[in-house]
């Protein structure tokens, strides 16, 4: 066990964690933040994407101990109770169906636009290539991200 301090959605936590525990399970099991989903065991699907110090990462690729001292934002903390423009855009453009990939997809999309605020549709597609969705065929996800980039969502 190792003691870590991590700030999640603005709240500081000090916890003992097993060295082998992945960050995603720390968030889900220790902190009860179950909005971050687990879709695979090979870091392929991106369902568990969160922000670590402002950048998107797949939280299954990190050990919880690696988040020691870091600032983490999960889907629950993206807009703190209301809707971030990206979340609004996903609803307006029907960019989700079953919703399982959605938290990770939204977190990845927000991070992507931070890096590239005015992307082409093709750049959006490549920017989200690490996040899989089985329901939407990505068409409406691309539209939602483009709408946020174009400032069409508040």
């Amino acid at each position: 066990m190792k003691r870590i301090t991590v700030t999640v959605n603005g709240v500081a936590h000090e916890k003992n964690v097993e060295e082998r525990e992945l960050l995603v399970y720390f968030l889900r099991d220790a902190l009860g933040l179950t909005g971050t989903n687990v879709g695979c065991d090979t870091s392929s699907c991106g369902a568990c994407t969160i922000h670590l110090d402002g950048e998107s990462v797949k939280s299954c690729t990190l050990l919880a101990v690696q988040a020691d001292g870091a600032e983490v934002t999960t889907i629950e903390g993206l807009a703190n109770g209301s809707m971030h423009p990206m979340q609004t855009a996903f609803q307006q453009h029907h960019g989700l169906q079953c919703g399982y990939c959605t938290p990770g997809m939204v977190m990845a999309a927000v991070s992507f636009l931070n890096e590239n605020p005015s992307p082409s549709d093709d750049e959006i597609r490549h920017g989200l290539e690490g996040n899989l969705c089985r329901c939407t065929g990505y068409h409406n996800i691309v539209k939602a991200v483009a709408a946020v980039a174009a400032g069409e969502v508040s």
Binding site: T34, G39, D41, S44, Q92, H94, C98, P103, R134, Y138
Partner: protein
Amino acid sequence: MATTERPAPSIGQRKLRKEDPELLTGSSRYVDDITVPGMLWAVMVRSPFAHATIGGIDTSAAESAEGVFAVHTAATLELGALVMAWPINDECKAPPHNPLTSDKARYVGDPVAVVVADTKEHAIDAAEMVVVDWQPLPAVTDIKKALEPGAPIIHDDLGTNDAGSWIMSRDSPAPVRNPSGPYFDDPELVKIKEEYYLARLIPNAMEPRGVVVDVNASMGEYTVFSSTQIPHILRTTLAITCGVPEAKLRVVAPDVGGGFGSKLEAYPEDAICLGLAKLHGRPIKWTEERSEGYVATLHGREMYQQIELAATKDGVLKAVRVKLWASMGAHMRIITPGIPMLGAWLYQGCYDVEGYDFEYTNVFTNNTFTDAYRGAGRPEATYAIERAMDALARTLDMDPVALRRKNFIATERFPNYTIASGLTIDSANYHGTLDKCLEMLDYEGFRADQVANRASGDTKVIGVGFSTWLEMCGIAPSRVLAALKYIAGGWDAATVEFMPTGTVRVLTGVSPHGQGEVTTFAQIVADQLGVDFEDVEVLHGDTQVVPLGLDTYGSRGLSVGGVALFKAGEKVLAKARTIAAHELECSEDDLEFAGGNFTVKGTDKSANIKALGFSAWSAHNLPDGMEPGLTATALYDPPNFSWPNGAHACVVEVDTETGAVKILRFVAVDDCGVRINPNIIEGQLHGGIAQGIAEALYEEATYDEEGNLQQGTMTTYMVPGAPELPTFELGHTVTPSPTNPLGVKGVGEAGTIAAPPAVINAIVDALSHLGVTNVERPATPERVWSAIQGAKR
């Protein structure tokens, strides 16, 4: 609460989904999010061999491992066999499939023991300590090899891997118009014979499966939270397998992260967890690892197809003859043997033929069981006929579009035209749908571009492929199911209830998991009852809240469940009318209903339906003998399937030097009857087409000689990401179904049914000048390149 203004009509509007805020903010609740006090974790011990007898199982080391509560094998966890609900005929072979195998493993992943521990980690660690005395046997995973003499036998008692055939001329309740034989004997007709292999597919719903069983020991009650499409069916099958009375068994499908058929199943793990909870009186949880799911969750498709067409020299299609050999995998799961039959009547496509024959043979192999995967039977049929139509067009030197047009069932035949295979199509306008597709595509412009492209000598060539498809969905008329030897019915149920505050509570027996019925059903109710969309709440997916239902599969949510809902609404309106006449002291005939108000004709006297709902609830002043409450339940058994159709066109660029395929355009014009919410229809089509493209270009599960799955994780099985898929160009026509009062048809599987042949036809078209006539799917660069090289030789 009562409003006097008429709410805007909801049907046809792009209403934003009521489901979304929770899903978008992380407030969703999937099975893996559920924790119950005192809960134990179950982890399965699975066979690493595709085929191996079990000499013995030593669980002692695992039992004494840290945190372990119990270890069970089939000998110590008494369960009945899993339910198989579709014994297609008397020759269908379906040996009992027990949740834990005891004699031998028949596929990699076959569960042989289960470890129960205080944490998942302890259970995983202990599972590795279970020692099984495996005695490996030769395995067979190929359909054709499994039928050869001397092949390893999967079920020893049968002495064969041939699980039985279904022959339309013998087994179908609907007679074919004419046998196909005379047409194929006619020397004046042109005949072609095509053979295709459809790869094995892994459904890949984004949420892995999981189950949590909660126990109320004092009442003998169990709540099963399962990542399932079919809570009602699962309740019945678990009652049979686990010996728990249905009244004591509550099955809940909470938020479910996609299904595509993979969660339409009676799985070993659900039964094992309920059995453990029953035996130990403790809550049990099991969740699937993705890699585990690749061998433990059902696979789709995998069949060899042989399709023959007979046509006149000028391109009039006269007869279709089809034979299939389908992989069952190692077991018959809930509807495995009937999946190919779901396409049986559709191998003639939307073409008006005279002669028809169809048969298929089911084959056991040493792989994960197959079962329903999005489209189930109908993508297979559409692929065969739409590929074969292109082959016929090449043989006759006709334009593939002209050939299709020449053979479409004429619009004047509808409504309710009985096709050669014996079923009756409700309605369609195949020409109208194709016209729109060609217009959006600019077909003539494309052909001109293609000529120019070829003349330029560019090593990247372009092609277009069509799929003018139909399907039968909205499963299903119960009498038809009975005639096909399916054990259950195909009805569904709904309840509409006015609450005292004026909101409307809707219970639906279908179990959406992404399809958006919480929204579309509220639109239907809002319009029918004249209430606000926001005032309608749709509940589903919990057998204790919605006792009646037959769940979500086969594009039935709207065309069966939605129609049940409309019927319940009609009953509510009839009762409300009686109360209104009583309150307004008039005859029921004197009342007009609009916008939620019953108005006495020619007066301004009216009663709003919400106020009538309160009157019915308070029961202070009801007509003599009337029961209190403004609520009604309807069970609806559809008199026919619904028959959506469409015209899809795919434009590809093929790099002749590398075999790489790029989709340049995908144009899809679909007709699903009356459209309730265009956003949701388009979303279903996008996702369906994406899965269809994936099937054509990317996805395939293969096995090595020993029966090991070669795509064991998501890193090696190619689920496409955003860069692999195009923007979709959608159009629609609206041909209402005459079968139901809403005029609706299904749309959930349409894209997956339609897309694959359009993609492959486009690749073959692009390479036709090089002599290529076929590319097996998925059309990987290697296969495309090989097809080009093969044509050169």
